[in-house]
């Protein structure tokens, strides 16, 4: 097990390394005059321009710049915003909570809705309920999360005059109010994922339910509920979690749109406003943080995989 974890950890090092190179190169290949683009004025003064290039680290040779930037990144120093001069790492850590909470809530929703639906569908294979649920899943899968969000904002307001409380509060300030602000975007974000999970749960369950060990469990006289939940589902979970990992990169991108739609002060809205103000140090930092989050979650998924499936541990 220890060896497996170590090997898996080492594997994420080159991925993160390539990521830093790409992000670093990205800002340096911006076509046109970076001063004009960032300052958003046609004729920036030379002093302004020099100060900006210093902030971006553009005043030194590329290799020096890169290793210096990498060194800073490793000590959690992401530089200062070129727009408001505040430290990038500080701004990001202030907003990290909201995005992580939104993501966790919607993954929770996706699991709570998707897995039972998938199991039920598999048990009623090709019966009316299964066909209806599969049709619904294709529909959900095709609805963009921001449209689901739009509908969740519009119709409750039209019919019942309901709106989520404005003025964002953090979880530890007022947990109930915070959850009321986050549950609609979490549902909007998690709906498509729940449909994906329902589909994978169904096919994984169908596969498991045909295995010999299920026949054994049934012939031992175990109740169907135990056979399904303790035997089949536990093994199906391995496949379900693997697929969750593959969807993650696509899924987390959705936080950007949902946060902007529901005006939540998370990493997504920060990224959006930084794009508008062309705050390149902030964008650099945010892209890096998003990549690190996904790498960590993928790592966690791979480790949970080893925990769920003993064959991985001993391979």
């Amino acid at each position: 097990m220890g060896k497996y974890i170590l090997r898996r950890l080492l594997l994420s090092v080159p991925i993160l390394f390539i990521t830093t190179v790409l992000i670093f190169a990205g800002v340096r290949i911006v076509p046109g005059d970076i001063c004009q683009i960032v300052l958003q004025i046609p004729e920036p003064a030379p002093e302004q321009c020099a100060a900006l290039k210093h902030d971006l680290g553009l005043d030194k040779p590329a290799a020096t710049q890169y290793f210096r930037w990498l060194g800073n990144v490793l000590t959690v120093d992401l530089g200062v915003s070129v727009v408001n001069k505040r430290p990038v790492a500080g701004e990001i850590s202030e907003r990290l909570n909201t995005t992580v909470e939104l993501a966790v809530l919607s993954i929770f929703f996706a699991f709570a809705a998707g897995v039972p639906i998938g199991v039920y569908s598999a048990m009623k294979q090709n019966k009316a309920a299964d066909v209806v649920l599969r049709g619904l899943a294709i529909g959900w899968l095709s609805m963009p999360s921001f449209w689901v969000g739009t509908l969740l904002i519009t119709f409750p307001a039209m019919w019942w005059g309901y709106a989520t409380p404005t003025g964002y509060v953090h979880f530890w300030q007022d947990p109930l109010k915070n959850l009321e602000q986050l549950y609609l975007p979490a549902i909007a974000l998690g709906l498509a994922l729940s449909a994906i999970l329902a589909r994978f749960t169904r096919s994984a369950m169908l596969e498991e339910l045909r295995q010999d060990y299920i026949r054994t469990a049934r012939s031992k006289g175990l109740r169907e509920r135990v056979v399904v939940s303790r035997h089949a589902l536990k093994n199906a979970m391995i496949q379900i979690i693997t697929h969750l990992g593959l969807q993650l990169a696509f899924f987390l991108g959705g936080t950007v749109v949902l946060e902007s739609l529901f005006s939540l002060p998370g990493l997504g809205t920060l990224l959006y406003s930084s794009v508008i103000t062309k705050d390149f140090t902030m964008i650099q930092g945010l892209v890096l943080v998003f990549a690190v989050i996904i790498t960590i979650v993928n790592l966690a998924i791979d480790l949970s995989y080893a925990w769920l499936d003993p064959r991985v541990r001993y391979a």
């Binding site: 991925i15 290949i29 294709i138 529909g139 963009p144 921001f146 990169a249 950007v256 998003f290």
Partner: protein, 298 residues
């Protein structure tokens, strides 16, 4: 290089012997939902190509009543800037499908090349390809598009290539594993024994045999591409502008009037979902039809 014509020579006999029309009719009878989705895809492509001819008004006409609910003269109602939503949806399909198809084209060009060469040649090149796939999977898709759009600007080519890059790892994975399955088959061995060059084996012997997988992954990717394009234009970072509508942007533009005029909140999103459902269901049907062995594989 005459790769395309070579494929045709290899692929046509199966179609020709059954008769194109009859084969399609038989498949449609077996899978009516898939056939319906196929028709919907055709309709969408038709609207995108011939939009200016079939649209009742110009998308930028502002001579209509404000926020009129759907009626015969305005099937989807009008928006907060006195414009006809139906015409805007038709014109908007050009951006959504245009970017969608271009992005899938990019992902196919890159993905098929890398997938086949990686899977067949193996070694360091394969390791590089797999590495690229792993790196790409650790980027949140939308963040990467936004990053590239900020650097290179909101142009059609930039957005299509950015979305294409996101879809490429999915394409590579499918094509590469299909190539791995095919490369150990006997006819490849025979081709090697006959002295065929690796290039010839990859693009004349392997490519035609993984085409079914490529078509399926392409149709699934079009749905994804349309979704990503819609998100990007919803954020106002797409190719669309005030006078060049896209479905995602239309939803954003009417944001302040959603509650007064529910159709402005419903119609553009429904158009996106309709297109995505159509391409996904059609893709599923194509998969079953092209290769029954793939059934239920995704």
């Amino acid at each position: 290089m005459a790769f395309a014509s070579d494929i045709e020579v290899l692929a046509t006999p199966t179609f020709a012997s059954r008769g194109w029309v009859r084969a399609v009719a038989q498949a449609a009878a077996k899978n009516p939902a898939g056939a319906l989705a196929g028709l919907a895809c055709l309709l969408l492509v038709f609207l995108a190509v011939f939009g200016p001819m079939v649209s009742p008004y110009s998308p930028n006409d502002v001579n209509f009543p404000l926020l009129e609910s759907p009626s015969l003269s305005h099937p989807f109602g009008t928006d907060n800037l006195f414009r006809d939503l139906f015409s805007r949806i038709i014109y908007g399909s050009r951006n959504s499908l245009g970017v969608g198809f271009a992005a899938v084209g990019v992902s196919l060009a890159l993905g098929v090349f890398c997938g086949i060469t990686g899977g067949y040649l193996g070694g360091a090149w394969d390791a590089a390809v797999t590495g690229f796939v792993n790196v790409m999977f650790s980027y949140p898709s939308l963040v990467l598009v936004i990053f590239l759009v900020t650097i290179f600007g909101q142009h059609f080519a930039v957005i299509s290539i950015a979305i294409g890059l996101i879809l490429t790892p999915y394409t590579i994975r499918v094509v590469r594993s299909a190539t791995l399955a095919v490369r150990s088959l006997q006819y490849i061995e025979a081709a090697v024994a006959l002295g065929a060059s690796p290039l010839r084996i990859m693009f004349r012997h392997i490519l035609p045999n993984v085409t079914a997988y490529i078509i399926v992954v392409a149709s699934v990717n079009i749905g994804l591409a349309i979704l990503i394009e819609a998100s990007v234009s919803f954020l106002g970072l797409g190719v669309s502008s005030d006078t060049n509508p896209s479905w995602g942007r239309m939803l954003q533009e009417t944001r302040n009037v959603w509650q007064q005029a529910w159709w402005t909140a419903v119609v553009p999103g429904a158009a996106i979902s309709f297109a995505v459902v159509a391409f996904n269901v059609f893709g599923d049907a194509l998969r079953d039809w092209l290769d029954p062995r793939l059934r239920g594989s995704r």
